[in-house]
């Protein structure tokens, strides 16, 4: 059970196929999903922190996963959006692989929180190529949600 991920992720913030073709567009699109659901106080700031973090160093991980993330003052709790892209998006990973599962995490800059724990849950879950394949093959938002939240981690 990925408790932190569950707290932050709403099925409405899951996209089975992103329209974006570039990294920056994907980040905008995912933050857009969060904004549509949760009405961010400062959309600009939220986008900026994630972009800044991404520019410092790529957040792509193994198995075609990328976890753009950032802490913003205007965000008051953990918010997560998930986007799949079958063809992959170039997240400038060190191994040159394209990212197919993109999970964006926003959290509060003010309080200590579940930011890292959520990242940890994601990385642990998607360390197994099997789990990644299952998510990419999912036909519905609900399936992706279930797979990510999981009863087992």
């Amino acid at each position: 059970m990925n408790r932190n991920l569950k707290d932050g992720l709403d099925p409405a913030c899951i996209s089975l196929e992103l329209t974006a073709k570039t990294r920056d567009d994907a980040i905008h699109e995912l933050i857009g999903l969060i904004h549509a659901k949760h009405r961010l106080k400062n959309l600009e700031e939220a986008t900026r922190v994630v972009m800044e973090r991404e520019q410092k160093m790529s957040t792509s991980l193994e198995n075609g996963l990328a976890v753009p993330h950032g802490k913003a003052a205007s965000v008051d709790r953990l918010l997560v959006a998930v986007g799949l892209k079958k063809k992959g998006i170039d997240f400038k990973s060190s191994d040159g692989q394209k990212s197919k599962i993109i999970i964006l995490i926003l959290s509060s800059a003010a309080t200590s929180g579940p930011h890292m724990k959520c990242l940890a849950e994601i990385s642990r879950l998607l360390q197994s190529p099997d789990n990644c394949k299952k998510i990419l093959k999912a036909k519905s938002v609900e399936t992706v949600y279930e797979l990510l939240i999981g009863s087992e981690s």
């Binding site: 973090r53 890292m116 940890a120 642990r124 360390q127």
Partner: protein, 561 residues
């Protein structure tokens, strides 16, 4: 329950004897009694600590031996019984064949409960499960050999013990079972052999030895009660008692492990660490009492509670907070045990003690070495393992004390137990060091000790930056509600815990090392990465710092006139 009645009676006799003694001596009532106790404790603590220090510093021996020796010196059978203080009387007088008064013995009992509670807490149950194969055979081999040889030694010796099931023989068996791996661990660490196949096997074997030793003790306590009352050995009842003891252990430990997380989650509601720790200790005392009520020993209950909590993230917190209490209380226990050694009673059993001690050495070397040899070690490696498992210590003393208090063993046998503990503990270090002098101890190259622990290493430009990053990293971990514990070793080392995530942080000069099980390595990598990024941001921003003059004139003004 017969034990309880016996206990109640002994206690009653003690109190009675105590109060008689006191009314005769002064007639000041409980105040005088307490004054005597406090004076005794003062003398004991100072003597034990000084003795421990001397042994450790000058003889390079474990402090336990020094504490024992101080006890022997100040006890009623040596100095303590000779010096008669004006208006106090003899400070350490014998009470009904016991060297300690009921009050003092009570404090020593509390100390033994603290000791076993912490021993349970420190048990690495995951290692217990991970190395179940080699560790269990080494632990079990040592246990069976030492129990049988210890028991048989008493039976075959020309004395009044003639049956294997005689309570005294059973106790002599149990006393020789429990390995005290502390001194071995120290030597392994000094020789950098902790992660060697032998080191890992010894430590895993010791965990088994602990757990199985406690179960054996539980069974023997029950058997001693039964076979002690009647002349004939009633196997049916003994089987039942063994079943009951194992049942109690397994059921309570399983329940404990199952509910430990929930219990600690509830306890964490207090938010204050002091309250959390104290509550857990209270629970340990309750379970200790419960175990005694179930016909087992109190230390067994305390150990189980420790074991149950050992898997929670509170374990280190409790250990850390109880350390101070431990440092003061536990030496009292060993000192009191030393005080109980009656040299006159030991004289006739000196030869017996020598043979018993020798068998205690042989039984561990053979009992632990043989399974090791059969599994994957060569003779050299097997010998190292046997020698590593050799030292007996705390638990042997506690069991001996229990036997004496229950009247199962007499002063002489108690002395023999102490003698065996001292001999095995003194013999192990030099032999172990010598045994590690030459080559490998395994028959073929084996990937032992690599329980998939990965090392993440970060080489930074300077010692200062590493230290700074380490502190920030620790702070970030604490922000994420990890428990971070300084292990107070020469190299700054921290243990990081959160639920089932655990890793170790080491600062080696300008290097930052993280030893982490591969399952958790991404977590550690990620948090570290974020911190390194934040650090480089921070360093970048220092470039924007204005000159000292512009930052604030009061800083430099008047300094360099």
């Amino acid at each position: 329950m017969p034990t309880n009645t016996v206990h109640v009676v002994t206690n009653a006799v003690h109190t009675l004897a105590g109060s008689e003694h006191l009314t005769e001596a002064s007639g000041h009532g409980i105040t005088h009694l307490m004054m005597l106790l406090i004076l005794q404790l003062g003398v004991i603590i100072i003597a034990a600590k000084v003795g421990g220090f001397l042994f450790q510093r000058f003889l390079k021996m474990p402090t336990v031996l020094g504490e024992l020796a101080s006890g022997m010196l100040i006890g009623p059978y040596a100095l303590g019984g000779m010096i008669d203080f004006p208006s106090i009387g003899i400070l350490f007088a014998e009470h009904d064949g016991l060297a300690a008064s009921a009050e003092l013995y009570g404090i020593a009992t509390l100390a033994s409960i603290i000791l076993l509670f912490l021993a349970g807490l420190e048990t690495d149950l995951s290692a217990f499960l991970r190395y179940s194969v080699v560790g269990s055979f080494v632990g079990l081999g040592g246990l069976v050999f030492s129990f049988v040889l210890g028991d048989l030694c008493a039976v075959l010796w020309p004395n009044d013990i003639h049956s294997f099931m005689d309570p005294a023989a059973l106790f002599l068996g149990v006393i020789s079972v429990a390995t005290s791996v502390g001194i071995t661990a120290r030597i392994l660490a000094e020789k950098r052999k902790m992660a060697s196949p032998e080191g890992v096997t010894i430590l895993a074997g010791a965990v088994f030895d602990d757990v199985l030793g406690i179960i054996t003790l539980a069974i023997v306590m029950g058997m001693a009660d039964v076979s002690g009352t009647g002349g004939e050995v009633n196997w049916g009842r003994i089987g039942l008692i063994a079943l009951k003891a194992i049942g109690f252990f397994v059921v309570v430990t399983a329940l404990g492990l199952l509910f430990a997380r929930r219990i600690t989650a509830a306890i964490k509601q207090f938010r204050s660490r002091e309250i959390m720790v104290a509550t857990c200790f209270g629970l340990a005392l309750l379970l200790a009492g419960l175990a005694e009520m179930a016909g087992l020993a109190m230390i067994i209950g305390a150990y189980i509670m420790g074991l149950a909590l050992s898997r929670t993230d509170l374990a280190h917190e409790i250990e850390h907070h109880l350390q101070g209490v431990y440092n003061i209380m536990v030496p009292i226990f060993f000192c009191v045990m030393g005080m109980m050694v009656d040299f006159k009673a030991m004289k006739p059993v000196l030869y017996f003690g020598a043979v018993y001690s020798m068998l205690a050495v042989i039984s561990k070397v053979v009992g632990c070495g043989l399974p090791a040899w059969l599994m994957r070690f060569n003779l050299r490696g097997s010998l190292r393992i046997g020698l590593g498992m050799l030292p007996r210590g705390e638990v042997a003393l506690i069991v001996a004390g229990l036997g004496l208090a229950r009247g199962v063993v007499d002063q002489g046998v108690f002395g023999v137990a102490i003698m065996m503990t001292v001999i095995t503990t003194m013999l192990a270090p030099p032999l172990l060091v010598k045994s590690f002098e030459r080559g490998s101890g395994v028959r073929k190259a084996l990937d032992c000790g690599s329980e998939n622990i990965e090392t993440i290493e970060l080489d930074l430009p300077s010692h200062d930056i590493t230290e700074f990053l380490m502190q920030r990293f620790i702070h970030a971990l604490q922000q994420e509600e990890f428990f971070v514990h300084n292990l107070h070793t020469e190299q700054p080392t921290y243990r990081v815990l959160k639920d089932d995530i655990a890793f170790t942080l080491v600062q080696d000069e300008s290097k930052l090392q993280i030893n982490v099980p591969s399952a958790n390595q991404n977590v550690a990598r990620m948090i570290l990465l974020e911190e390194v990024l934040a650090l480089s941001d921070l360093l970048e921003s220092t470039k924007e710092m204005k000159g000292l003059d512009q930052m604030g004139t009061d800083l430099v003004s008047g300094l360099f006139a």
